[in-house]
Symmetry: C3
C-alpha cells in the first residue's frame, strides 16, 4: 500500500478507511527507536501549533513528536496574547501562520475550525480537537492501545462510559471501532446518550450496540472499558454539570465484578470518574495511552511529510 | 558595501539610510532557499523573544526565521507569568535575559522600551513594536512588498489610509517612503491625521503629500493603497473607537474606481476595513506580506550576526 | 569522584554533600565554551518544563541551558491553558508529561510538588522552586557566585537580609553555607526571622550566626551581603506586605559604611530593596548571578544525563 497520509489533512476519523488506519498503526509501533533516540527525518520542517482551548497531552505530544523527528515547532497556546485578541478572525490568523509553517495543528472550541483551515490552506492541517465534535489523533491512539494491549479488535465487547454526548473522543472513536467485529456497550446517563447522528451511523453499519445507564450491570461482559469525564466546559449550566459529576466512579471494588483482564482506558484528563487506587492495576492502561499517542503522532507527522 | 547590520540594533526606521535598507532588501530576496530548506547558519545562537503586547505575525515570524537559520528561541509572550508580575522592572528583566540570549526581540506598549534596552545591553536589540511609535521590521517588509510586487518605488502614488495617528506601522513606514520619488496621499478622519512631527518630517524632506478624508475621491489616482486598522487599544475611550471603526471599508465595489493593478496592502490584523471578498483579487497582497516578512527577518538576523 | 548527579533528582539542597556540590561547581566553571558555542551533548533529549508560578530567570535559563547542550524543550508556563484548568490533578499531569520528556523541571506554589513528582516518576525531576520551601539550583548558583567572586567560602562573614521567613532562596542557601567555616548574620524584621527548623539546623551544625534587625549596625562586618525581596505572594495580607516593603533599602550612601570589596548579591527579582544607583558598583554582582546560573544549569543537566 502506498502511504495514504502523504500531504493529507487529518480532520475526522470518518475520512479514513480501515486499511489506511491500520497502515498508520503499523508504522506507529515501529517508532519506538525514534521516540527514544531521536532522528533528523523532519529537519528543517516547522510545525505550527495553534491551541485555542486548554491542552496538556495533545499539545505537548505533538511538540515532542515533531522534535523527536528533528523538526521545529512554533505557535501559541496563550491565545489571549495573539492578534485574535485584537479582533483578527481565525481565518486570517490561519492564512498568516501558513507562511511560517509546513503543517498546522489546530485545537479550537469552534467545531468547524480545523476543517475550515484545511479548506483554505495549502499546507496539511491536523485537527487536535474541535469543540464537542472530533479528536481524530486521540481516537487513533485509543485504537492502537486496544490493538497493542489485547492483540486484536475482532470479538471484543467494548464499553464506552460517561459523557457520550459532549465527549469528542467518543464521537471520533466510534467510526474507528465500527470497522471491526466488536460489540459496543454505550453506558451513560439518559441525558448524555450518544448523539442521534452517531446512532444512525452505527445502525447503518449494522454495529451491535446497546445503550444502558448502569455500569455495574454490564461490567461483567466487558473486555474493554473506556471511561470519559463529564465535559464540564460543554454543559449548558454549572448545575447540570454538578448533577452529572460523580454519576460514574470506577473503584477497585466495582471492578471486582469485571473480567480479570478487563482493559481500563481513559483519554484523560480524569476528574473523579476513576479512583486513584485503580491506577496500580496492571490492566489500567490510561497512563500508557499517552506513550502510544506519542508513537502515533510521530508516525502521523512522518507520513504526512512522506519522510519514512 | 560592507554589511551595515552587523551587531546593530534595529530600533527605528529613521536610523537607516536608503542604501542600508536596499542592502537589506537585496539580501532578503535571496533567502527563499533558507525559508524552504533551512540552514545551520545560526546554529548555537539563541534569540530572546520578549513580547509584552499581543502578537501573532511578528512573534511567530521571528521564531520561524531563527529556526530556519538553525538557531534556537527562548522567551515569553505570556508576560503575566514572568517576574514582571512580581514587580520586576523591564530594565532588570532585560539585563537578566541578556545572559541567556545572543539577540533580543522586544515588543512593548512602552514607547521607549526597545530603545532603552538597546542602550543598556551589550547584545543587539530589535524593536518588534513599541507602543504607537515604531515597528521597523514591519515597515521594511512593507517596502519590500511594494518593490517586489511593482518592481520599483519611484514614480508611484501611494495612499496610506486609516488610523494615521496611532498606527505605528505608518509612523515607521513614512521615513522609508520619503527616500523615494513618491507622491503620498494620507487618507484619514480629521481626528486621526498623522502626527505633527511626521508632517514636519515630510515637509523638511520636500515629500509631496496631501491629506484627505475621502478614500473614494483619491482612489483613482493611487498605485498602492496601504490600509490600516483603527488601533482600538490606543484610543482614549471605547466610544471614540466605535465612532471610528467602519469609517473606511474597502469593498470590491469601491475598488471599481481604482486602477486595475492597484496594489492593496495591509499590515494585518485587519478587523473590518477590508471586505473578505477583496482577498481573492490578484492585487490584494496582504496575505503575501507575511511571507516577505519571513524572508526579511531571516535576512536581518543573518546580517546582524554577520553570518552570510 | 564518580559523577554523583547521574540520573538523580534535585529536590532540596539538604540532599547533597559538600563534596557533591563542589563537584557540580567544578564542572560548572568549565561550561563557558558550551554557553558560548553550543554543543550536541544532549541531542535528542527533551526537557519538560512545567512552571505553575511566574518565572523569568529560572525558566529561561533552564531553557537556554538545554538548548546550548543541543537538547529540546517542551512544557508550559501558562498553566491556565493546560488540562489543570479542566480539573486534572498535578499528579496526573506529571505522569502524562513523563511520557514525552527525559527530565522534568517543576515550579509550583505547592511545597511538596517537585518532591512528590520525583517519587512517582521514573525520570529525574529538578525542583525549580516549591512555594516558600526550596529553590536548590538558585542556591547552587549563589554559592558558585561567592566562590568565583571571592575565591573561597571559608572565613567569610555573610549577611543575609530581608524576608528570611518566606524566601525560599534563603531556606535553600543555608544548608549549603553551613558546609563552610562562615559566620552568618541574619538580618530581618522580627516578624520575618528565619523559621524555627532553620534555626535548629544551624544550631545542630554549630554554625556561628546572629539575628539582628538593623542592617546599618552590622554592615561594616560583612564580606558578602545577600539581599532578598519581601515575598509579596506569600504574605497573609497585602497590609502586612506594605508594612514590610521598604524596610531595607540598600543605597550607595548606606554602603559607605561597608567594606570596599563587600560583595552585593540578590537572587532577583528585586523590587525596591536595592537602589538602581548601586547597580554600577563593581562589587554589585546580582546581574552576574544569572550568568553563573546558566553555567550551573548547563552543568547540572549534562551531569544528570551523565553526558560529559
Amino acid at each position: 500500500m502506498t502511504n495514504p497520509f502523504a500531504d493529507r489533512d487529518v480532520i475526522s476519523t470518518l475520512d479514513f478507511t480501515k486499511e489506511e488506519i491500520e497502515y498508520l498503526l503499523d508504522v506507529a509501533v515501529k517508532m519506538e527507536d525514534i521516540a527514544k533516540y531521536g532522528s533528523k527525518i523532519l529537519a528543517n520542517k516547522i510545525l505550527g501549533s495553534i491551541f485555542l482551548e486548554p491542552s496538556t497531552r495533545t499539545r505537548l505530544s505533538f511538540d515532542a513528536a515533531m522534535k523527536h523527528l528533528g523538526g521545529q515547532v512554533i505557535g501559541f497556546a496563550d491565545w489571549d496574547k495573539s492578534s485574535i485578541k485584537k479582533g483578527e478572525t481565525l481565518s486570517d490568523t490561519f492564512r498568516v501562520v501558513e507562511n511560517y509553517a509546513d503543517v498546522l495543528v489546530i485545537r479550537s472550541e469552534w467545531e468547524g475550525a480545523a476543517k475550515y483551515a484545511a479548506e483554505i490552506l495549502n499546507i496539511p492541517v491536523i485537527n487536535a480537537g474541535s469543540g464537542a465534535q472530533e479528536h481524530p489523533t486521540q481516537s487513533f491512539l485509543d485504537l492502537m492501545t486496544i490493538r497493542q494491549e489485547r492483540g486484536k479488535l475482532d470479538g471484543l465487547t467494548i464499553g464506552v462510559c460517561g459523557d457520550l454526548m459532549y465527549g469528542r473522543t467518543v464521537h471520533s472513536l466510534l467510526p474507528l471501532l465500527m470497522n471491526y467485529d466488536v460489540k459496543l456497550v454505550l453506558i451513560s446517563p439518559s441525558q448524555l446518550h450518544i448523539r442521534k447522528e452517531d446512532k444512525v451511523m452505527l445502525e447503518t453499519r449494522n454495529v451491535q450496540f446497546t445503550e444502558v445507564e448502569s455500569l455495574e450491570s454490564v461490567l461483567p461482559s466487558l473486555d474493554v472499558l473506556y471511561m470519559t469525564r463529564m465535559q464540564r466546559e460543554r454543559f449548558r449550566s454549572e448545575e447540570e454539570y454538578l448533577r452529572m459529576k460523580g454519576f460514574y466512579v470506577l473503584t477497585k471494588n466495582v471492578l471486582k465484578n469485571g473480567k480479570p483482564d478487563l482493559l481500563i482506558m481513559h483519554p484523560l484528563p480524569r476528574i473523579n470518574e476513576i479512583d486513584p487506587d485503580v491506577d496500580k492495576l496492571p490492566q489500567a492502561v490510561y497512563f500508557k495511552q499517552p506513550k502510544y499517542g506519542l508513537l502515533l503522532r510521530i508516525a502521523l507527522l512522518a507520513l504526512i511529510f512522506d519522510a519514512l
